[in-house]
Symmetry: C2
Subunit: 337 residues, 2 copies
């Protein structure tokens, strides 16, 4: 399939998220109120730092999925709002800790919270938001939901540790890469979808929505990883190369290296070692990822997971939610083009 | 009262903890089994790092309090074991993050986990154990207990942030110091005692045991803070000066500075600024804390809280547990002598 997006595609894609945000307007307003109220603290740094990252231009993708999953099988209630806010807090806490772990100075083009308030404050406010996420989940009144999200939280941490151990490991098997992103990213999408369905009032489709969430999360992260190298064309204004500079071995690199010549192997070995990496290496890495077709192959992998996400929805009641969740899976992949 | 411990006191004190450990032997064995089982992960760094810190010579004071609170009003059940393990995991997670925040190379005289595995692994394994603590609490089947511990967890993080903001703040009011240690230390003792009582089967004495835990935690931390300056006499083999080197303004410093001469003020200002601190400053700080009587005054403050802890137990059923919890409060203070 074509890898360049037409203007019509872009307009259509924007509409999926717009439509979801519009349909979920009252739910999302309730979630925003909770995000603000539950980050409150007499210790100023906490709400300041929290608001900085919580309002840093995130699309609220995880709350949207949580709420839409509830609507797809029943109805979002006030307990669903608490759940959606909890999911966003868990996500925010992991971002704060990731920035410290990855030594990233920027997050979505803005200085990372740790660049403004320091590593210590980022670690501790992450802990605070994580704890508040659990208080929010207690408000849902469901031990089952607490079990799902506490389990997902330990899986996320496990994935992050595994990613840390895989840093610079050039022969990382694709399966290990997928296991890492399934844990660090897809587990929260999966938990949000499953818990959203349960919170919406039905356990009948909880497994299906969990599968949707997991595959969507995989597609989402694979696309993120190829976008870090500019996708198939450089995206102007998009900061690229973070993963590369951190020596993260992601799918575009795995494929480019596998398809590359012997001299490329030596290049990857030197360039993905943060000690020996040179300024000009990123441009060559991008060149190799493009010329070996690794970018397209990576996107094809993401498309496969997006397809699995859509298939998982097959038995859901035919509502606009089912349709929009399906379109959302496409949207997650199309942003790579 | 006398500030030097007699041999008889020491023997008696050792017996309190020994007695509790002996009486709680089967409960503590169950807790240890959970601590090991729930730190399990296919990602080797996680159990390795967890076991390193979980078995690093801690006395299991928080699990002991949790279990004893349950027995004091009812009986420790398997859900109490899960709770006690959860409390220890929360404590362990905060230690891992504290070592990164405080840049401490040692913990209980051994290299800190972060000195062995690095900051990133310490942050992420802390997150993992924190998540596993919540999974353990889901196993207790009590939303009330989850609410108590999730709230305590956010209060702990709040206290740590507040402590961070107070670093080097020489005019820190005593009330602010107490608010910090109440949050960062006493909140977990309080939550463990309250939740322990509820888990034991009675809400009747939960407030009393919560008050016991809070005051015990305050006494415990105040004693820790004076021990960091060697107490009233240097303790051989005890590493001192960590707080001082980090510019932490604790009660012995607040009192010594308040009672000191003008030239001492200038000394404290320079010495508690980590940028201008000199090697020989710790010895002078210890000297000033002793000669102004700040060490004794600090211990007297701890004794007052230990007294409040014991008073809180007044209406509890007269059992050996009530007696031992009372003696434990004395023990926490006596280690300062």
């Amino acid at each position: 399939m074509s890898i360049s997006a037409t203007a019509r595609d872009i307009a259509k894609n924007a509409t999926v998220v717009d439509q979801l945000q519009s349909l979920l307007e009252s739910d999302l307003t309730a979630v925003e109120t909770l995000l603000k109220a539950r980050a409150a603290s007499p210790v100023d740094i906490i709400p300041d730092l929290s608001q900085y990252i919580v309002t840093a231009g995130g699309k609220r993708l995880r709350p949207i999925i949580t709420l839409a999953a509830a609507h797809a099988v029943g109805k979002a209630k006030s307990s669903t709002h608490a759940l959606a806010a909890a999911v966003e807090f868990i996500h925010t806490a992991t971002l704060l800790h990731d920035d410290v772990v990855d030594e990233s100075d920027l997050r979505r083009g803005k200085p990372a919270a740790k660049s403004v308030w320091g590593n210590s404050a980022s670690i501790l406010v992450g802990d605070f938001l994580f704890a508040r996420a659990f208080t929010l989940m207690v408000d849902t009144g469901s031990l089952e939901i607490l079990g799902i999200l506490s389990n997902a939280s330990s899986v996320i941490a496990e994935g992050e540790v595994r990613q840390l151990a895989a840093q610079g490991k050039l022969d990382l098997p694709t399966e290990d890469y997928l296991a890492i992103i399934e844990a660090k990213t897809a587990a929260l999408f999966e938990a949000a979808s499953r818990a959203g369905a349960l919170s919406g009032g039905s356990s009948e489709h909880a497994d299906a929505l969990a599968s949707y969430g997991k595959n969507l999360g995989l597609a989402f992260q694979i696309v993120d990883d190829v976008l870090d190298y500019g996708g198939t064309t450089s995206v102007i204004g998009k900061v690229v190369g973070d993963d590369f500079r951190e020596g993260k071995v992601t799918l575009p690199v795995i494929i480019a290296r596998r398809r590359g010549k012997t001299e490329d192997h030596a290049f990857w070995a030197r360039a993905l070692n943060v000690e020996t990496q040179e300024e000009s290496d990123l441009a060559r890495a991008i060149h190799l990822i493009r010329t070996t077709g690794a970018a397209e192959a990576t996107i094809a992998e993401a498309e496969a997971y997006a397809g699995l996400a859509k298939s998982a929805l097959a038995d859901l009641p035919d509502t606009q939610w089912k349709s929009l969740l399906g379109q959302l899976a496409d949207f997650c992949v199309k942003r790579a083009h």
